[in-house]
Symmetry: C2
Subunit: 343 residues, 2 copies
């Protein structure tokens, strides 16, 4: 008999999720059937979209139901197998959510090879966040050589990939992040051309100085005041892939001040901007194969680097999740739920 420790959605948060939003439950898994595998979760991915799933506002995906396990991508190791294609010790990408163990009939599992790259990258640079950056930037942003690409939350798994891919395509990459340490990482680790600290009191002027030729592509993953400054500098025919708005996710009311919507529409009109929302899975069929090939190559040869921010133990997930929503993480937010057998 296996117990899975689960983090379930206890109540829908108003604003920032609190400890009360989650409940820890010891759940007894049923005995393994023929065709099933027992998975032990090694890494749990923490991603901004999860905040949306905690709310029951209409969205592109159904909310997590109350008293159900929080959803999430995971890297697992097979602990027991009655499935012909999976052996004990195999590593798999799965969508097991916030828990320590899971049973699967193999549907949706993807085999991971720990000899090529660390398996945790399947949740980051070579997984959903990396693909979000790749597809959104190339298909919607379409950066041209010499153009200026701006991205915020730029040390995060999406932002850092956006900047590095932009540079690989010959564009100039301007990264925005919070604090001097992240700013330094943008320049030294990720090779951005310019790095800006959005917490600086001179951020607006810094941004203006950083984009003397204006902004051609703004990869939108934050929203809020940072986005407002960026939009002022958009060039004619600028493109804005909208993949996230993390600044809004915990918001409980509209921001102070006047209605900025009419001015925003005027900007779209006078600058002939393209604003395009997307979820990465729209592009899986059209770009998934290219992504795996190109991005694996870039990671392998070091032209795309990544950074992980690993919290230890499932009990750290809620706090790490809150931190990620407010930018306290530094790199791809992961929870090491149990020891990584490949390390």
């Amino acid at each position: 008999m296996t117990l899975s420790t689960q983090v379930r959605l206890a109540r829908r948060p108003e604003g920032e999720p609190t400890d009360d939003s989650f409940a820890f439950v010891e759940h007894e898994l049923p005995p393994l059937q023929d065709g099933q595998v027992l998975l032990r979760v090694v890494y749990l991915s923490l991603d901004p979209y999860m905040r949306g799933r905690m709310s029951d506002a209409p969205s592109y995906a159904d909310p997590v139901e109350l008293d159900h396990v929080m959803v999430g991508g995971t890297v697992c190791v097979v602990e027991e197998s009655r499935h012909p294609e999976w052996a004990v010790g195999d590593l798999a990408l799965s969508y097991s959510g916030w828990q320590t163990h899971d049973i699967s009939d193999g549907t949706g599992l993807r085999r991971l090879d720990p000899s090529v790259v660390p398996v945790s990258t399947a949740l980051g640079v070579l997984g959903m966040p990396g693909f979000t950056a790749y597809a959104g930037l190339l298909e919607i942003g379409k950066p041209q050589p010499g153009e200026t690409v701006v991205v915020a939350a730029a040390t995060g798994p999406v932002g850092s990939a956006v900047g590095q891919i932009a540079r690989l395509k010959g564009a100039r990459a301007v990264g925005i992040a919070g604090g001097a340490e992240k700013r330094r990482a943008l320049l030294e680790e990720f090779g951005f051309d310019v790095a800006l600290d959005h917490r600086s009191p001179t951020f607006a002027e810094d941004l203006k100085a950083a984009v003397p030729d204006g902004i051609d592509v703004y990869f939108e993953n934050v929203g809020g005041p940072v986005a407002r400054e960026v939009f002022k500098r958009m060039n004619l025919y600028g493109r804005v892939p909208v993949c996230g708005l993390v600044a809004n996710y915990n918001a409980t009311s509209a921001p102070e001040g006047r209605d900025r919507q009419p001015a925003f529409m005027s900007l779209i009109l006078t600058k002939s901007l393209t604003i395009r929302g997307f979820i990465q899975n729209e592009f899986t069929k059209s770009h998934g194969r290219d992504f795996v090939r190109e991005m694996s190559g870039w990671v392998a040869d070091g032209s795309v680097r990544y950074r992980e921010d690993v919290s230890e133990g499932l009990e750290s997930a809620a706090e790490a999740f809150r931190g990620m929503l407010t930018g306290r993480n530094f790199g791809k937010a992961l929870v090491r739920v149990s020891p990584d057998p490949t390390l």
Copy 2:
């Protein structure tokens, strides 16, 4: 010696243009030089974009300078010619603006053939407004058979063309206009599938009932409260060509109420919408030829109909312009500046 009566920009309006915004001036034209033609303006086009040119806010085009002639498309007849390619009596599309006479060296003149269609159509359905509808709808809106296309100001030259082209492409056309008479024209003259009166107290419910399958394309030319209702009904992957925001043009301050911008961005994200501002001339090279061919055919065979709202005399231009900005026109707004020699 020829006098041109000119309407000049006397002061930049705050809100709706007043009579004080314009000045009538008798301007003495210089003697005709070799290579020049003297044009008598027959029709002046009144278009919403002109309101933007009266302001000095940054935009896609430079503002009209104070004490300069108001800009505008015109149909002219050649009154005198020292140009080898133009003869007295020839008809030309020009950009002579709000005045009775103009001198041209032929640059930018397009010959009009009155034997095919009325020359005034060069300012409407077969001119800039028609091309705006054609290029914006087909290139950005991309309506598919069976999809639902919504357009407001739908009896205007852009809106009526959008609805009719949408139907020619197999889509369902929902038109929005102000008042029962315009609503009737949408159904009876222009063949929209559904016509809605935005002044009706039940407009929101009427719209909901009119689009049981949601909205795939919203051709944005009005903005304001109408657009807000439409956006609520957008489908996943909906497309919004933004060609105008006439509801905002006279606005002197942001509308009452909370900031709708964050919710708008969330909608773009959760519905994977494409919002794309454009000015028709972006598409002249790529779509101009197709437009002339297809649209001339449709007008000639009656599959695209048009309606004109003609004011008499240049002295009526200011009042007619104000009326157009608030929807009092009924069809393409034109000023007959002098008698049409082809009638």
